[in-house]
């Protein structure tokens, strides 16, 4: 069976004996240079490096360019491209059916905080164990470039239309409502994104990653605040993240004064070296006020903003049997004739 560790003789393999090729997807049909493609690449690497069996992953998405991208990584994982803004409900149901699966949701800014805001809020509130990635470019790609709810005030469309509505800060929202691992990254920052994705895989609970992912076709011009150029100029990391997987050597020295070590659910360690002075990864209010201030100063903060390893995730809260409900035998899910007889007796 493919998921068992088979030592490879030729190509490099991961912890469970799979090659990077085993994590690849179909060829992307997104625009060349689209930030989403870079994110797909990082996901492939992260799942490969963490040694996650692809068959144990469910890739969930809504509608939009971002939501198409699960086709472009990990073809051996189960995937569900659902309807616009409604991925959270589908992902929730799927995890209830099989709590032993890992879930990754790929969404966009429109899918998440415009049409899908309602369901997104309740996913956060439940602390559903999912890695929820917003491939955030501030515009609707598939319908050719209308503003979304994360577009900044004053940002300009190619047509010259200027956005005059304030943006929703997905990260601040997520921290407020109940996500237990919240961060922002940039599709162009390979190192930061890879580290955050691996930490996300190690966390159990809602991981919300808002990844600025420029739309090269509709939002990468002068006047855009979600362009490659703008991000290179305004990206302000609050911390430098290091990640040590359970199977890696932990004995790496770090400065306790400047670095916070967070042990994640699977035994991994996330080491966050402080860059931003207000940074404290376990403070909800600190993180929210830091994000709010950054809007005023025009900085785009990135990094891990908030981690809470104590919150109970939704699937655990429901106290289900250990076996996935999807596989529960008839004997476990259909009470016997004596139960029906008793019920009938009560109603006679």
């Amino acid at each position: 069976m493919a998921t068992s560790p088979v030592p490879s003789t030729s190509a490099r393999t991961n912890q469970i004996g799979l090659e990077i090729l085993d994590y690849r997807g179909s060829k992307s049909t997104l625009c060349a240079g689209c930030g989403h493609n870079a994110i797909s690449e990082r996901l492939i690497e992260a799942f490969y490096e963490m040694g996650v069996p692809p068959e144990e992953v469910m890739k969930m998405s809504g509608i939009g360019c971002s939501s198409k991208s699960p086709a472009y990584f990990m073809s051996r994982s189960f995937s569900f491209n659902s309807v616009h803004g409604r991925m959270p409900a589908v992902a929730t149901g799927a995890l209830l059916a099989n709590k032993t699966m890992r879930s990754i949701g790929i969404s966009g800014d429109g899918d998440t905080v415009s049409i899908g805001l309602g369901q997104f809020m309740h996913l956060l509130r439940r602390n559903l164990p999912i890695i929820y990635i917003v491939e955030d470019n501030g515009v609707y790609g598939l319908t050719k470039g209308q503003f979304s709810a994360t577009a900044d005030i004053g940002s300009k469309l190619k047509t010259g239309v200027v956005n005059d509505m304030p943006p929703i800060d997905i990260c601040a929202l997520a921290i407020q409502v109940g996500a237990t691992f919240v961060g922002r990254s940039f599709s162009g920052d390979k190192k930061q994104l890879s580290t955050m994705l691996k930490a996300a895989i190690a966390h159990k609970g809602t991981v919300l990653l808002d990844i600025i992912s420029p739309c090269v076709t509709f939002n990468d011009h002068e006047g855009s605040t979600k362009s490659y150029k703008y991000m290179k100029e305004h990206d302000e990391a609050v911390n430098e993240a290091g990640f040590i997987a359970p199977f890696e050597d932990i004995a790496v020295e770090y400065d306790h004064n400047t670095t916070v070590d967070v042990q994640l659910h699977d035994g991994s360690h996330l080491r966050l070296r402080k860059i931003h002075e207000d940074y404290a990864p376990t403070s909800k209010t600190g993180a929210i006020s830091m994000l709010t201030e950054a809007h005023d100063s025009g900085e785009v903060l990135t990094g891990v903003f908030y981690v809470n390893t104590q919150g109970m995730d939704f699937v655990t809260r429901l106290n289900m049997i250990d076996e996935p409900l999807s596989l529960a035998s008839e004997a476990r899910v259909r009470p016997g004739p004596e139960v029906l007889a008793g019920l009938m007796q009560e109603l006679a």
Partner: protein, 647 residues
Amino acid sequence: MTAAGVKRDFSCLPDHPQNSIGATRWKDLSMATTNLEAESLSAADSIVHPKKLVNDFTIQVATVNGSGSQSANSILLRGIFRMGVPVSGKNLFPSNIAGLPTWFLIRANRDGWVARKGHVDLLIALNPETVLDDIRKLPAGGAAIYDESFSIGDRRADVVYYPVPFDQLVAATGAEMKVRKLIKNMVYVGVAAQLLAIDMKGLENIVRQQFARKAAVADLNWKAVQLGFDYAASSLTKQDGLVVEPMNATQGKIIIDGNAACAMGAMFAGVTVVSWYPITPSTSVVEDLIKYMKKYRVEKDGKATFAIVQAEDELAAMGMVLGAGWGGARSMTATSGPGISLMAEFAGLGYFAEIPGVVIDVQRTGPSTGLPTRTQQCDIAFISGLSHGDTKHVMLLPGSVKECFELAIEAFDVAEMLQTPVFILSDLDLGMNNWMSEPFEYPEKPINRGKVLNAKQLEELGEFARYKDVDGDGIPYRTLPGTSHPKAAYFTRGTGKNERALYSERPEDYAQNMQRLARKFETAKTMVPKPVLKGTGKEKIGIIAFGSSDPAVLESRDQLQREARIATDYLRLRAYPFTQEVNDFVARHETIFVVEQNRDGQMRNLLKTDLDAAEAVKLHSITYFAGLPIEARVITEAITKFEGARK
């Protein structure tokens, strides 16, 4: 408590109006325990000449909602039921928590007719706001138990009046102020029991069963029943002819509402994931299900073999149902019309992406606020093609509480066998009212999970194409997430895919997939429950109906036969798509009446779509859509009139 004790209690009611109203007087308590034979009633103090009606009458209890009369009504209903007399109970209630008028109908009928009957024989009037109107609407010969403090205006000469000093009787129970409102209801149970000759021993058992958790509460309630009984015995002269006499027609039967029956069915179907959003009249489906599941589906270690989630809205509820169905759970939701509207997009996705799930729709009248507590069969047209694009949905149509149980079980099998959402269309009348039934039978067939491939089978097959019609029945094979094989995974999306679940916008791929889905819907005909035929099958007139109209149709056929010598055959639909039996039935009859509880004849239109044009012209609609359960009389009159006009 003894009758003598009651008398002592009454002695503390000094200004009780003895003999103050014609029909009322104190009587010797020794007469309290038996009703007078109707024939022997003296008409001297009454102008009403009652006809004796044994086990064939309707009681209407008029209260305000929030007054806690449900328990009392249920006890009264069961009191008659336990005497072996067929009964049905219907709650006609407002969309309100407290203070608006509510009526509860109890129909006792020796022949087993349990449909709503508009003709009320005994009114129990506890709502001062409606008492005048309630009495005005009583037919000649009717009787009214009412609170003597009510001003009832001029008395009708053709109605029997039974004034009862409710407040004094309640006070005599010694009940605390805060529960007096509830206890009052038990008093009318006692009064009615005495007047109708309902077995008090049986009634006591029911009261004690109902309040089994607290002996003191049971004692108090029973005391109130007794006081009512003794008051009636000593102070009221029986002048109506209504009598309950023991029969043997309910032996072994149960009383249950359709929502509880659906819930029970779902549990025995092995439901594992439930997501819902509260909405009248479907709420108790899941609330009852939660009760059952907590009791019978939690294992010794305290872990549940299910997940039940109250979702943020019906969109999410349906999304979770699909996610869970895709993930391999037996998933369901319960809702009503407005929820169905919100579920439309996901329902379509479920059809195209071929995901099992069960939706129980307890139908009610139209959108928004208004009449959410009134019954209709009004979602047929909407659900049959719910969502955009070429969609067709399987609908199961339970016609009794027993079928609510059976079809709930069936629905999960059909959904998984067909890999599509399956809708159970119940309604408020069936779902929330009390129905007598044969006990439910334990499912004979094992659970059928449909065409699911595991890792071993994938290994043997060597290939897997999610949307390939391998067997020619339109139903492809699926795998469940987590299946540990490199070929197990596939990409799920709505449209735009080929057999191998790869993205495709080729016209051929789309058309082929849609044709396969059409084949699958044909296959559905072999899986859904067949219609039920009643009659010789050789009459000229056929009736087609479904769901909660069934008891009214059955009674109407009897009326038609007896009153107008009109013989009918009756086909009760139990599912959409329609099976060949439906075509055959229409072909064999000259005239078909399609009886349904909506304005536009939704089922008739659906039938017309499926039938040949030459056959479709035979269909005539009989519709009732005022929000109350349909009566037999509506059908009888429509058919009699139609046939009369034809002659």
